[in-house]
Amino acid sequence: MPAFERLRHGILVILLVVLSACRSTDDSAGSKISIRFSGYAGNPAETSLMEKLVGDFNRSQGEIHARYEPIPGTYYPKVLTMLASGTAPDVLYLDILYFKPFLAKRKILRPLNDFLAQSSTRPEDFLPALVAAFSEGETVYGLPKDFNTLGLYYNRESFDRAGLAYPDETWDLTRFRQAAITLTHQDAGRKQAGFALAPDTPDRFLPIAEMFGARLFAQDGSCAIASPEGIRALDYYAGLKRVDHAAIFPSEVGSSFSGDAFGREDAAMAFEGSWLTPYLQTSFPRLPYGVSELPRGPAGRSNFLFTVAYVIPQGSKHPEAAWKLIEFLTSEAAQAQVTFALPSRTDVSRKYVAQHAEYLPILKAAAYATPYDFGPHGPRIVERLGVALQEVLLGVKTSERALQEAARDIDLLQQR
C-alpha cells in the first residue's frame, strides 16, 4: 500500500531528525563538562568581547567547555523564568538593582565564599564598594564584572559655537542650567536642545536630588524623597524641560536613550555612563565630545555606581566549573580588555584610566557614588519613581504632589 509506505517513510524521517538532534548535543559536550553562561546582549562591544573571552577560556581549559548565550531583550523576565524552571545557565550577569530581589528568594544565589577561600582571586583586589554591593554580611554572592558611574557628556562643537567654556570640576547645577539654556538653539531648521532628559527613569534625577540634599530613604527606612529638598530638586530637573525649554526627551527625536539623542546632536549634553563611549565611537565616529564629572549641587556631589556581577545559581550542576569561568572573566588579563565600563579590579581600572583619560571622570565619581540598589523591592521602587517623574515632566502633577504620592506608595511596597 503506497499510503502506508509514505507514512512509514515519514516516521523514519522524523526519527532520523530526532536522533541526529540528539547526536549533535552529545558531540559538543563530549567527555567534557559543559557549562552555559548568559548575560544581556545590550551592547555589541560587550557581546563580542564576551564571545572572545569565552573562546579564550575554552582554549585554556582541558576539562570544561563553556557556551556563551547572550540574552537579547528583556533579561530579568527571561532569567527568572529559566531559574524557576531549572534551565538557568551556570554563570549569569546580575545587575546591582536586582541583587537584593534575587537574594530575597533564598534558593537562587550560591554563596562564593568556599570558592574564594581556595582561589587566588581575592575580593580585596576589587573596588571594595563593588564587592560589598554583592555581599550580605560576610557572604559574597557575586564577583563584580565591571562598573560605571554617570558622567556629563558634552558636545565640544556646540560649546564652541555658543562661546562657552567646557564643563569642568567647578561646574555646579546653576552653571549647568545656564549652559543648557545657552546651548539650546535652532538654526537652518536644525534644532538642538541643551540636555537630553530621560523622562521615565529616576537614575539621573536621584543624584540631582542628593545634590540638593534630599535622601530617598530616611534613617528609619521610610521614603523621604518628598522632602523640601527633593521637591526643589524635581522642580529644577523638570524645569529644564518645562520652564527653560532647554531639554528634550529622547523619544521626541526618535532615540531610545539620551546617549543616542546626544550622538545624533539633538542634544548638546547628556548624563550617561561610559557605555556611551564605544557606542559613540562606532555609531557617531566624527562627533567631537568630551566627558566631565556631573556638576555639584548646593549639598555637594552625588552619583550612582552601576555594576554587574557574575553569579552562580544554586541549580548549577557544575558550580566548580562555573567558578573557573568567573575566575577567568574577572582575571586581570580579561579585565584589561573591557571598553564599555571600568574594570572592577582597583589596579586594572587605575591603569586603564591612565591610558584612557576620558574615563577619568567616571572613575573619580566612584569615590563618592552609592550603588544603584534600593533593596528587595528595588525594581518596583524605580518604576514608581519613574511614574512620578513623568507626571511632573508631562505637567500632570506638581513636584510636591507627585513625590508625596510616590513616597506613600513606596512605603506601602516596603511593608508588603
Binding site: 523576565p77 527568572l80 531559574l83 528568594k105 523619544s251 526618535g254
Partner: protein, 297 residues
C-alpha cells in the same frame, strides 16, 4: 464484518483526531485550568503556590493600575472594533465594484495583516515621532495649526503625549486589521445572490435602499464574525504596546494584557496575573455574548 468496519473506522477517527486533541489538552485546556487554579494562590515561581482564596481578586478591585488598564482596554476595543469594521465594510464595497487594478488594491489592503505586528509597530514608531513623517505631512498640509487649537503641543509627540498615545495605537491597529476583515466582507458580499438585487431593482429600490435592505441584512453573519474576532483581538492587544510604548506615557496605553505580562514576568506575581487573565477572559466572553444577543444570532 460490518460491525468490525464501524469499530475500525471509529478507531481511525480517534487516531486521526488524537494528535490535535492531545495538543489541545496539553497546551490549551490544561494551562487554562491551571491558570484558573493559580489565580487563587500566591505564586512567584520559586516557592510552592500558597492558597490565598479570593485575595488576588480583592487586590485587583483595589489596584489602581487594573482599573486604568480596564478603562484603556475597553476604550481601545470599542474604538478599534467599530472603526475597523466600518472601514473594512467600506473597502469591501469599493473592491466589489468594477475598478481597474482591483487585485492590486486588494493586495495592498490585505498586506498589513500578513505582516508581523512587530515590523508594523517599528515602522509606525518612525511615523509617529515628533520629527517623524506624520508631523511633517500635517505641517505640510497646515493641519498642525488646527491641532494646536485643540490644546496639543505642536509638533505632537504622538506616542509620548498622554492624550494621543492610545488613539495613535488604535489608528495603527485599525489600519493593519481592516484589510483582513475586508476580505471577509468581500466573501460575504459575493455570497449574496445577484438575483436579490435584480428583484429589488424591479421593485424600484435605488442603490441606497438596495444596500440598506439587501446587503446589510444578508451580511449579518459576516458582521457577527468580524465583530467577534475584532473584539477578541482588541481585548488582547499586547505586542504593539510592548514594542511602542511599554504602557506609557503615564499608563495611558497600559492594557490588560500588558499589565498581566508585567505582573507575571517582571514582578512574578503569577497568582495575581492569573486573576487578571481570568477577568480578561470573562470580559471577552461577556462582550462576545452581548454582541451575539445584539446581533440576534
Amino acid at each position: 464484518m460490518n460491525r468490525g468496519r464501524i469499530v475500525s473506522e471509529r478507531l481511525a477517527a480517534v487516531a486521526f483526531l488524537a494528535p490535535f486533541l492531545l495538543l489541545l489538552l496539553v497546551f490549551i485546556l490544561w494551562p487554562v485550568l491551571n491558570a484558573l487554579w493559580l489565580s487563587f494562590h500566591a505564586y512567584d515561581l520559586f516557592d510552592a503556590p500558597r492558597w490565598v482564596g479570593l485575595s488576588n481578586y480583592q487586590l485587583l478591585l483595589k489596584h489602581g493600575d487594573f482599573w486604568i488598564s480596564m478603562r484603556n482596554t475597553v476604550f481601545y476595543t470599542v474604538g478599534v472594533v467599530v472603526a475597523q469594521t466600518a472601514l473594512a465594510l467600506f473597502l469591501a464595497l469599493l473592491m466589489d465594484q468594477r475598478i481597474r487594478g482591483k487585485t492590486a488594491f486588494r493586495i495592498a489592503y490585505f498586506l498589513p495583516s500578513v505582516t508581523s505586528s512587530v515590523a508594523i509597530s517599528l515602522i509606525f514608531m518612525a511615523l509617529f515621532f515628533k520629527n517623524g513623517m506624520l508631523n511633517q505631512l500635517l505641517a505640510g498640509l497646515g493641519v498642525d495649526r488646527l491641532l494646536a487649537l485643540t490644546g496639543l503641543s505642536v509638533p505632537v509627540d504622538w506616542l509620548g503625549d498622554v492624550h494621543t498615545a492610545l488613539p495613535s495605537l488604535m489608528a495603527m491597529n485599525i489600519w493593519s486589521t481592516a484589510g483582513f476583515f475586508m476580505i471577509i466582507f468581500l466573501a460575504g458580499l459575493q455570497d449574496i445572490p445577484q438575483t436579490l438585487y435584480e428583484v429589488a431593482e424591479l421593485d424600484g429600490a435605488g442603490p441606497w435602499a438596495q444596500f440598506r435592505y439587501v446587503t446589510l441584512p444578508l451580511l449579518k453573519p459576516t458582521f457577527f464574525y468580524v465583530g467577534t474576532m475584532g473584539i477578541i483581538g482588541a481585548f488582547q492587544v499586547f505586542d504593539q504596546v510592548f514594542i511602542m510604548t511599554n504602557g506609557g506615557p503615564l499608563k495611558a496605553t497600559m492594557t490588560m494584557a500588558y499589565l498581566l505580562y508585567t505582573e507575571a514576568f517582571v514582578h512574578f506575581n503569577m497568582g495575581y496575573a492569573c486573576a487578571i487573565a481570568s477577568v480578561l477572559a470573562t470580559v471577552i466572553f461577556l462582550a462576545t455574548m452581548g454582541q451575539k444577543r445584539l446581533m440576534g444570532e
